[in-house]
Amino acid sequence: MREMLNMIVVLTALTAISGGLLSAVQSGTKLRIEEQVLNIVQAPVIREIFPETTNDPIAERFPIETETLSLKIFPAKLADGSNAIALETKGKGGYGGDVGLMVGINLDNDEIITARVTTHAETPGFGARAKEDPEFVSQYNGKSMNDHMGLKRDGGSIDAMSGATVTSVAVTMAAKEAQKVYQQIKPEILKQIQ
């Protein structure tokens, strides 16, 4: 009995201390990690989505908070004078966790300009192609925010990447999330941009 108790106490104490330490490290590095992700992952992707803008979407980013979510909005003024934004959502259920998708949306006609995969931990050579080869996500180019964002097998119009169905589904989940979020926060974005 005593031995049993000893085991429980030691293991519990150890995991509790470890948990506390990790949450301290996590909150200590959080800001720096966000900054690194912004500079190394998000900024190049945004430049790919909006190759020509008359403003700096990265410097002008602003946060949007609602009861259920908080995210960064990257506003862009396109060369033809229309307003656009980019926002990043996470698609659940990838092979290696969530798959991040940055979606560029034209505010004037609610059409997707293009989308790019940001952070992911998918298998190199299979799911990771979603990021390296923009062909798959380019299927979202010109899609309206009212369209079905799913794969063909789910009733949508997107062809899955061969050999990487799980990743493809995760990307469509992110696109659906972007659709939902966009409809929810569009009035707020328009207010902020004015």
Partner: protein, 202 residues
């Protein structure tokens, strides 16, 4: 004392160098050694985890009940691995992107658990640090050496740190792409093991 300390340290560099002598921890060894910088990054991350997990296991060796010791070791190791992972994301994000999934996998690297079980749980903290440092540096050097062979033959370059190419083959060099692919890792490892046995044989 000083002599045995030095012995524990240096055994990791040659006599018990992990991938070649103990033939442990091959998963990261084979997977990340496509470039010297990846090998060094992985080696340093593992060294950090080894030193601190050895230290803690050694400090707690009389408190941890033997029946749950492996669970306790894994908690300690996983804690330090997560610290390394967060630290890499915060300070060397590009390296983190390259090593990616292999950083969390240090938790199940047999070298780390092996040293905790075979050494740190039976020795003093100072000895355990020396052991962890020795094995860790040995591991880093072996990763770097293996990566150097593979990168040189497979891509014709040697990239030391953060994209700094310190050596490049001439334009006439045809890269032997097989070496940077998975099977090349086994071939290179096998040849290096053979080479080390040849040198070590008196």
């Amino acid at each position: 004392m000083a002599q045995s300390l030095a012995k524990e340290f240096t055994k990791g560099l040659w006599a018990e160098v992990p991938p070649f002598r103990l033939v442990l921890g091959l998963c990261p060894v084979l997977a990340v050694t496509t470039k010297v910088e990846n090998g060094i990054g992985m080696g340093l991350a593992t060294t950090f985890v080894l030193v601190f997990s050895n230290l803690l296991v050694s400090l707690l060796r009389n408190i941890i009940p033997s029946k749950v010791r492996i669970a306790c070791y894994i908690v300690i190791i996983a804690t330090f691995v997560t610290i390394v992972e967060l630290g890499m994301q915060a300070f060397t994000y590009e390296l983190f992107l390259k090593l990616g999934i292999f950083i969390p996998l240090i938790v199940v690297n047999c070298v780390v658990l092996g040293r905790a079980e075979a050494f740190a749980s039976k020795n003093t903290p100072i000895m355990s640090i020396a052991d962890g440092l020795g094995i860790g540096i040995g591991f880093t050097l072996s990763l770097a050496a293996l990566a150097a062979v593979r990168e040189l033959l497979g891509a014709g370059t040697i990239t030391l740190w953060n994209g700094a190419v310190i050596f490049e083959m001439g334009a006439a060099f045809q890269p032997f792409a097989f070496m940077v692919q998975a099977p090349g890792a086994f071939v290179a490892l096998g040849l290096m093991l053979a080479g080390m046995n040849l040198i070590g044989k008196k």
